[in-house]
């Protein structure tokens, strides 16, 4: 392994890492937002809507991300959807993960004990206040650990974006490997970058989790 090769390629690797983080965070944010909306729409209990959403979730969970991404990027122009590689990557990650996030939020809502909702009903709380003050906080707290977990999984799905030429880490690494015949060096470099990302995510996740479940340990501070 040669250090000067690594140093030479450092700017493109770091740049690729930046693109990875960008696609991952934008795609993850899109997925969380979409998934949340889907979970809320499930709660409306309108049969045709629920049925359509169920099909959406099953299709995007049931097919490989690689296939979805390729269809979006290469097939998109046939239906007038012309996207840059990076835009297709972000949207692809977002739509793909929204199917998982929708299920996470749905499970979060289902985890709220019915007694807490009955307590809100019994004092005459309106549905909107019950959702905002009681159901939603409890559901989000329940959903936090699986959300962090899904974000970790998603961070590693970003490697797939290299096949549609998004200049992310995997793409840069492949370029470096092809130009220098240093397959192992580049793959180790890539692993190190991903490990850094996953480690940072799970650390942040643990802090977030501790924060949202603080009420289980501490006394509330006086207002």
């Amino acid at each position: 392994m040669s250090l000067d090769v690594l140093i030479h390629y450092a700017p493109s690797l770091i740049g690729g890492f930046g693109v990875t983080v960008l696609c991952w965070s934008l795609g993850g944010a899109l997925g969380i937002a979409l998934g949340f909306v889907i979970a809320l729409m499930f709660r409306l209990r309108i049969a045709p809507l629920s049925w359509t959403l169920r099909v959406f979730v099953e299709v995007f969970r049931g097919t490989p991300f690689l296939v979805q991404l390729f269809l979006l990027y290469a097939g998109g122009p046939y239906v007038g959807l012309r996207l840059s590689a990076t835009a297709a990557g972000v949207i692809g990650l977002g739509v793909y993960s929204s199917a998982y996030f929708a299920e996470i939020f749905r499970a979060g809502f289902a985890a709220v004990p019915v007694g807490q909702i009955e307590a809100a009903m019994s004092v005459g709380m309106a549905p909107r206040d019950t959702l905002l003050r009681v159901t939603l906080p409890a559901a989000l707290i329940a959903a936090t650990p699986p959300i962090v977990n899904m974000l970790v999984v998603l961070s590693k799905e970003t490697v797939v974006l290299s096949i549609i030429t998004v200049p992310e880490l995997m793409y840069q690494m492949q370029t470096m490997a092809a130009e220098t015949f240093t397959a192992f060096d580049s793959i180790f470099a890539m692993a190190a970058f991903y490990w850094l990302l996953v480690e940072a995510t799970s650390r942040l996740g643990r802090r977030l989790e501790a924060r949202v479940t603080a009420f289980l340990q501490e006394e509330a501070r006086p207002a």
């Binding site: 009903m121 019994s122 005459g124 709380m125």
Partner: protein, 260 residues
């Protein structure tokens, strides 16, 4: 003649093929305390939950201060489900305390009590907190105002739940086995809180297995079995001299089990 605070007439409720309530009649006057006693599965919790319409009913009527709950009659005299807004209006006046407290775990004791005041009664933040604090003081928990439910004992949680219901200033209080989930040592503090309410003239319907409490606090005991009220009268008579063999048998078992 004044209108009863709670008036139940010919109430019927079924879950699938099983009829849980088979024509229940019960009247509770203002300031009256009635304990509802019966074996498990007799329909007592379902009956209580019909009073604030947490449970819908199939036939009969439940009236609170003369107003039918859960259903409305149009000009055509046909009964249809009540507008959600009207149901909420009625529920504000009916406090309910649950067996498992049902506090909101992500809110402190104070927020649990103050939140409905703000969202339902429309009180300002400071005003809601002030009234909530007064209510917590009343149930002896002023020092726990900022504690989350997970840091409170069962008895304390149930007293917060009572404060939450009372803060709404209801006309009626419903208790669904308020001490059944508590350690024996914590039962007393909750019963004391309910007793003090009785002394102040609160109208209450209480589902309970605490016979001693019922004997002291209730004006009447209604005994329910298989979806029917089979005895209803002063505690002493129902507990000791019921004409109904099923009631005598129930309390005999209770006496036998509790003598040591």
């Amino acid at each position: 003649m004044s209108v009863p605070m709670i008036e139940i007439r010919g109430l019927r409720k079924r879950f699938g093929a099983h009829e849980v309530l088979c024509g229940v009649d019960l009247e509770i006057d203002a300031s009256e305390v009635v304990c509802l006693i019966g074996p498990s599965g007799s329909g007592k919790s379902t009956l209580l939950r019909c009073v604030n319409f947490l449970e819908s009913y199939d036939a009969g009527e439940v009236r609170i201060a003369g107003r039918l709950i859960g259903y409305e009659k149009g000009p055509d005299e046909i009964r249809r489900p009540m507008a959600a807004r009207h149901l909420r209006e009625m529920r504000r006046e009916i406090g309910m305390v649950f067996q498992h407290f049902n506090l909101w775990p992500h809110m402190s004791a104070l927020r649990n009590v103050a939140e409905p005041l703000r969202r339902v009664r429309g009180l300002a933040h400071a005003e809601a907190d002030e009234r909530a604090m007064a209510m917590l003081t009343r149930v002896g928990l002023a020092d726990k105002a900022h504690a989350y439910p997970s840091r409170l004992s069962g008895g304390q949680q149930q007293r917060v739940a009572i404060a939450r219901a009372l803060a709404m200033q209801p006309n009626v209080m419903l208790f669904d086995e308020p001490t059944s989930a508590l350690d024996p040592e914590l039962v007393g503090e909750v019963l004391e809180a309910i007793k003090s309410l009785a002394a102040e003239g609160m109208t209450m319907l209480i589902v309970t297995h605490e016979m001693g409490f019922a004997a002291h606090v209730a004006k009447r005991i209604a005994f329910i079995d298989e979806g029917r009220i089979i005895d209803d009268g002063p505690p002493r008579r129902v507990l000791h001299e019921s004409p109904e063999p099923r009631v005598r048998q129930f309390f005999q078992t209770y006496h036998d089990r509790n003598s040591f």
